[in-house]
Every structure is written in C-alpha cells, then in structure tokens.
Amino acid sequence: MPVQRSDALPIRNASDVVAVRQLVRTRAQEAGFNLVDQTRIVTAASELARNTLDYGGGGRATVQVLTETGRTGLRMLFEDEGPGIPDIELALRDGYTTGHGLGLGLGGARRLMNDLRIESQPGKGTRVDTVRWR
C-alpha cells in the first residue's frame, strides 16, 4: 500500500495530544475527507493519543496518508513502551476503565475508524494501528 506521506510526533504531555489532533485534522483535510469523517478521525486520534499518554506513559504517533487503487486512507499508529494491556477484549469493552475515565475511548475509537488493531505485550508496551478509508 503506497504511503503518500508519513509524519511522526512524540506524545509526552497534554499539549502533544493537541498537536497530534491538529496534525491529524490537517492530513484528513488534505486527503479529502468530509467534515463528518474528519471529526471522527480527529476524535479517535484524541482518544488513542491520550491513552498513550495516560496509560502508556507517553510514546509516539505516526500519521500516514495511504493510497490504493481508487481509494485514500488515513492511517494512525500509536506506540508506547508502557505496561501493556493484559486483556484487550476487556479494555475494548464500553465502560471498562482502570483510570477515572468513562471507559469509552478504545471501543469508541474502533467504532469511529474502519479498522483498529491492538497489539500489546504486558511489560513491553502497546501498539494501536488504525485506518479510515475515504
């Protein structure tokens, strides 16, 4: 899948989360997503970036614009070297939180995107790979 463009940003604090959102919004606009889709993608980015910060202890986001025959996609990758997610199914369940959140971020992000994959190893870290097609 040809990658048109790829940018990586660190996630170390709350302003980095804002920067990730802004980058994702710009790329989604450039890739021609409509306003509703832009909003979906940016909101998913916000959820995943904040999880990376709050639970992963910080990490980085990679944002890519993909082109395939006849379609364009926006791919986001969130990686951290934090404690990992012991039970991914449980973490995806609505209302499940080990913090003080609503427990809707991961499941919500999966609904907002087309494809969302989580790889996680306890003690090693977490990688969330997600894409939305136009």
Partner: protein, 288 residues
C-alpha cells in the same frame, strides 16, 4: 577534558586576574554588549569580577563538571542571566558579555605559554569552556521565557472562560478552544461559583467553539452538569454541531440525561421557558 589543558588557564586566572578583568572591562565598553543605559559600569565590573573568581575556583579545583565549585559557577551564571533579562538585556547581550572574556584570556595564555606546542590545546580548552558558559546563560534565559509563557497561558485560561448573565436566573458559558483538563477545571469552578453567587436556575454551556468533543470533554461536561444540578441549577448544552453529535453517538457517550440544543438561541428559548419568562413576539404561545 584532561587537567593539563586547563592548568594553564588556571594559572592565568590566578596570576593575571587584575589584568584580565581590566582588559575585559575595556573590551566591554568598546563592544556593543555594553549597555550603560541598562547597567552602570560599576555593576558590570562587579559581575565580571565575581565571575572570574568563581571561574578561577572551578578551574583550579580539579573537580569534574558536577563538582561544587562548578555548581557555584553555574548558579551565578543563572542568577545574572535572570537579573539581566529582568533589566532588559537580550539573551544575545548576556551571552556576549560572557564571551568577551575570551580575548583577554587568549592574550594572557599566549603571553604565559611555556611550551608553544601546548598552546593550541590550551586555547581550545579555554574557548570551549567559555562557549559553554555563554550557552548556559542562554539556556537559563530561554527557560525563564518558557515559564513566563506558561504563566501567561494560565492567566489566559482564567480570562477566556467568562460566565455571562443572559437574563434573570439564566447564565451562559461560551466555551472556546481546546478543553484540556486544566482549562475545564477552571471553567467548571467559575460556572459553579457564579451559580451560587447569582442563584441562577439555568446555566447554558455553549460548545460551538470547541473543536473536538471526545470522552474526556464529555466526561467534564457531564460532571459539570451534575454538580450544577446539586447546586439547584439546570444545565443546557448548546452548540453541538451535527458532526459532533454523530461522533458523540459513536463514542457511546450517553447525554440522554442532559438537555442539549443545536444553537445558543434554542437553548436560551428553552431557558426562558424554564424560568417562567415568555418571549413577547408569539404572545406567550411558546409556553404551551
């Protein structure tokens, strides 16, 4: 750096201190870094003299860079950087002040060179050391600037969340920008405070200017609404644009217990009804 390379410098600082200081001050006055409008020459000389003492102590101590004599030197540099910045010196001028000691040190090292073969290494060691000290003054100034920006941001947080009274018993809070947690906290508190002060019955939170509503923002909104309710006020959330409404649904956030309206005007109309005020135009029929 091996001690042999700065031992010549240590010697110069010890034996030629007065000469170095005098030449340094002359260069200062000739150079552009001197700002008699900001600092009298006597004070510049004071700083220069202290700096030379601390430098001599550090270089002569044989300690590593984390030794106490180096720390004292760094602390002094930090303090003059801060005070100079407050007096109106630019970071460049403060760095130039430190850098201008190079020329006199250079001359003295040359004069005292016992072994010409060693001279380049000695000069190099001196130069990198002074560069390092000058860089430190810049780093301190930048840090101070960062702190100032952070402070101004905090002040803006408080400014940018005005609670306005729309009508008897009706408050409105137009929120603009990113609702990071620090800001939301301020917003929430100022709204609750005003509810208590004014005894308002309805508070409208308008989020037209909030670009992203994610689970964190939603949670803050729900908490605010709940707290307001405990103080006896109903909240209406307005300005939920269609794309945001759709996203909230996908996220699975439940706002069914919260009154929401598309526009501030709609919310205001509802608030007027709630508080028993009628809009004149339709002659009270709105209340039906």
């Amino acid at each position: 750096m091996p001690p042999s390379q700065t031992s010549a410098l240590a010697g110069v600082l010890q034996k030629d201190r007065a000469g170095v200081l005098q030449a340094w001050m002359q260069d200062q006055q000739a150079g552009s870094a001197a700002r008699p409008d900001l600092m009298p020459a006597s004070e510049v000389q004071d700083q220069a003299s202290q700096l030379l003492d601390l430098l001599a102590a550090a270089v002569g101590s044989g300690e590593g860079r984390d030794g106490s004599s180096w720390q004292a030197l760094r602390q002094f540099l930090a303090s003059i950087s801060t005070s100079r910045a407050a007096q109106g010196f630019s970071p460049v001028e403060t760095a130039a002040f430190v850098l201008s000691v190079k020329q006199p040190l250079f001359t003295k090292l040359q004069q005292r060179a016992a072994d010409p073969g060693q001279l380049p290494a000695e000069l190099w060691a001196m130069t990198t050391l002074i560069d390092d000290l000058a860089l430190q003054t810049t780093a301190v100034t930048l840090e101070a600037r960062d702190r100032m920006i952070a402070r101004q941001q905090e002040e803006m947080l408080e400014l940018s969340t005005p609670v306005v009274k729309l009508w008897d018993g009706i408050l409105a809070l137009p929120m603009i920008g990113t609702l990071d947690s620090a800001r939301t906290q301020v917003v929430m508190e100022s709204l609750l405070q005003r509810i208590v002060q004014t005894g308002a019955e309805v508070a409208i939170i308008d989020i037209t200017g909030v670009p992203t509503v994610d689970t964190l923002v939603a949670q803050h909104l729900i908490k605010t609404v709940t707290a307001a309710r405990l103080m006896g006020a109903d909240c209406i959330i307005s300005g939920i644009r269609p794309q945001i409404a759709a996203t909230i649904v996908h996220l699975g956030v439940d706002l069914t217990n919260v009154d929401t309206k598309a526009t501030l005007a709609d919310a205001f109309r509802l608030a007027l009804r709630r508080t028993g005020h009628a809009l004149g135009k339709s002659n009270g029929s709105e209340r039906a």
